[in-house]
Amino acid sequence: MPVYYLEIIVVALGLLMLMIDAFVKLKDKRAIAWIGMLGLGAVFLLLFRVEWPESTDGSFWQFYKAGDQLSLYFKGIAVLTTLIVLIMAADYSPIIVAQTADPEPGAHRQAGLGEFFALPMFTCAGLMWMASANNLVSIFVSLETVTISFYILVAYLRRNVGSIEAGVKYLILGALSTGFLVYGFAWLFGITGSMDLGEIATALAAPDVNATAALFSFALILVAIAFKIGAVPFHFWIPDVYQGAPTPITAFLSVGSKAAGFIVFLRLVGPFLGSPALVGKVTLVLGVLAGLTIIVGNFSALPQKNFKRLLAYSSIAHAGFLLLALASAPIVARENALGPATVIAFYLGAYLLMTLLAFLVMSTIRQRVVSEELDAYRGLFKTSPFLAVTLLIAMASLAGVPLTAGFWGKFFVLKLAVEQEQWLLLVIGIVGAAAGFYYYLKIAVSMFFESAPTTTEGDTAFPVAVLTRIAMIALTVLIFAVGIYPNLILGLLQ
């Protein structure tokens, strides 16, 4: 099956879910989510069986990058993330219903739930297209598909002021960054006369390229993408939006949106890094961005008392490490070797495992305790040892303890930085990683060493739905499996 049918399947699945929601009388609308999960599971398996067209030039699919393992990998990340987000969303449905319920008589008691399950499918399709986009127009269109569905999802809890506020913030800043992106694209088109990334790369590598104009367009594009991936100083929306959005959507933003942002970043920065006239300045800017992001992300996470905000800053910090890999890009791009692209792809894969695991635990706890403060996790080890140990493993991996998936990400990034002799950034990275140990362990201290607040109802364990439990166990096993045998992921990238 040609690879570009995958997105079509996902979109069709989303439409099907909407239709079912509209025309089939369901007792429990979570069935829609289950259909979505089944469908995404099938798509994930299909990823291993697709065929690549020789070339897409001149065909209808010319916006689609051909023969690229990396894009397939990122499609996998998108599908897997959406699958787990749906599992989370099904668990989360009572809260959605409570915050969106319509007092109108005669309405379904779960009215408004169906769209919450269907919209992520369209986001997923957008993320998958982003992975394969090879031209400025397709990058823009897929990026907007993703962003617009996120605008709705973030503001989904319409009876909740925090969610609405987050939605508006995201919308305004997102629209602004889109403006920067389009303006940057316009300049890039003006300089190179092409929309195709391959041709742009050739044009930029030419000796007579207009460096000033090219750098200007780079700066504009950088602002827009830095917003998407949450790089400092374009990160201000992240903590607020993460905190306000429904937890499954926060997880989706934090993993899916970030992964897609990075693949677009890789594709767009590639031509600039390949240009001898520009590479020095571009690397310098990326290095500054990486250093700032690591410092601000890690140090702002230190005093956080809200777990969601803490994870928001941690996601900024991880973006910093990913930028560090990019800033350590060798001047001659190495395609198959362990270059920045592979390192970033690996890091994001590991990041998916540990971040989604943390969010799964968080959304499970949120169902009974109406709080995401760290206090809500006090004494968790006594009441729900399973959840506490699972979360501890996620935190250890995020902090980068060896033999977990997260360590390899940091290891590869540091190795790149050492090879490229980025000493200053290396020092910053070490300081940041050390700070990370502090705030990731803070949650472990709450869970293990403090006693549960007496106000909660009894000492009973938190209920964990079957699917959620399976997802948690699978992610935990994968964290260790990748931690011991990283070829599990690296093999997918060869």
Partner: protein
Amino acid sequence: MSIIEIIVLLPLLAALAIALGAPARFLAFGSSVAVLVLSLYTAFKFRTNVEGLGALQFESSRPLINIDGMPDISLGFGLDGISLVLLLLSAIVMVAAIWVSPKESDIKGSARLYYLSLLLIGGGAIGAFCSTDLFFLYAFHELALIPTFLMIGLFGRGEDRVRVAWTITIYLSVGSLILLVGLLMAVVALGGSTFNIADLIALANNPDTSIPADQQGWIYLLLLVGFGILVSLFPFHSWAAPAYSQAPIPVAMLHAGVLKKFGVYGLIRIALPLAPAGAEKWLHLVLILLLGNIIYIGLVTIAQKRLDRMLGYSSVMHMGYIFLGIAAGNVLGLSGAVMLMFAHGISIALLFALAGNIRESFGTLEFNKLGGLAGKVPRLGLLFGFAAFASAGLPGFANFAAEINIFFGGFANMGDSLGWLQWATIIALWGVVISAVYMLRAYRSLFFGPEPTTLKGVRDLTWATRLPVLLLLITLMSVGFVPELLNQFIRPAIDGFFLVTAG
């Protein structure tokens, strides 16, 4: 599967089984005894006539990463004389530590977590000592990080155990990160083609591929600080004493006895052979720092008012001697250092085990609340006396055999006049007096003198605690009387080390 792979995996698999619900104490103890038996078997089978640090025995290797642009990393194990000695140390202390652990019903909280953590700490140390691959040497050591954190925070003694758990974890992870950068720099400087330690050493000793001298200086400094933090080298020692005094007894035994040796092991195994010029460059700094350990920390130890803190500081102090042996850098000094790693590991574990017993019986470890115990608990008194003498370096114990080698090593390559090293050795000799002072003072104030009226009558050591203590003590004395037991393994390895670096 090679026997070393079994030895390394056994504690980890047992930990996994405990996590899944197997009987904790039974499995932990069973697996650690099995590890000890297997380690003794390897020691018995170990051929001592093979020369060379690179001459590993019982080698096995499973490639884990092989992709372009990245040197192969493999799960490789093997033993030379040095790692064999440390394997034996780990196995013995692990058995003793699990043996003296409280029964499942006496543990407040999750007994499964307790034993699982002990297995991970011990298993991590064993894995690190047996690894032939730089990456896994590092990774196995880190395996102990989170379990130590949980053990001190959950089962520790004392009010501020959470703060202490936090401090040790952050401190050690910073050390590990610095170490990681140092290791990566060394690997990249050597061409970035391999993580295999023996291959790296071979590259470093080939004049064509060795690291340029100025780079060696930086790399050695990073490794010294990284490993130094892990060994509590002065002035990076402040995590150690509070952590050991607040940790549960088995953790203190394993950490002070075994895990801490990883830092010095790394210096001998990696930093010295890969960056010999760097070692030379920073020799003076190392000498000053190690005197800080021996003299300054020695005096701090004398000032302690509680047995557990005193033991914590004394373990920091003794690391100075090991560094002195490394600084001497000759056959005598290095083999003394390895021997002392073993001897100190056993003796500090022994002391902590006895201290735990005193605390359990009398509820306190403060010197001025205890006294005259010799009449009440004569067996404990006798054993503690032996342990204290061993730690102070009396002849007849392994510690003496080791320290004497180190001191001779300091003078072995002396020129016409006294150099830095000789002066440092002369000053360090005073450390022996210091440790005699604090050990004897502790012994006197605990077991002799007037008996405070607050003490209740208690039982002496039971067989259940006597056996693990005897195991440690007999080990110390047999090595003390017959140093050849270990020297036969250490000497060829050290000789080979010089063979390689000279050629």
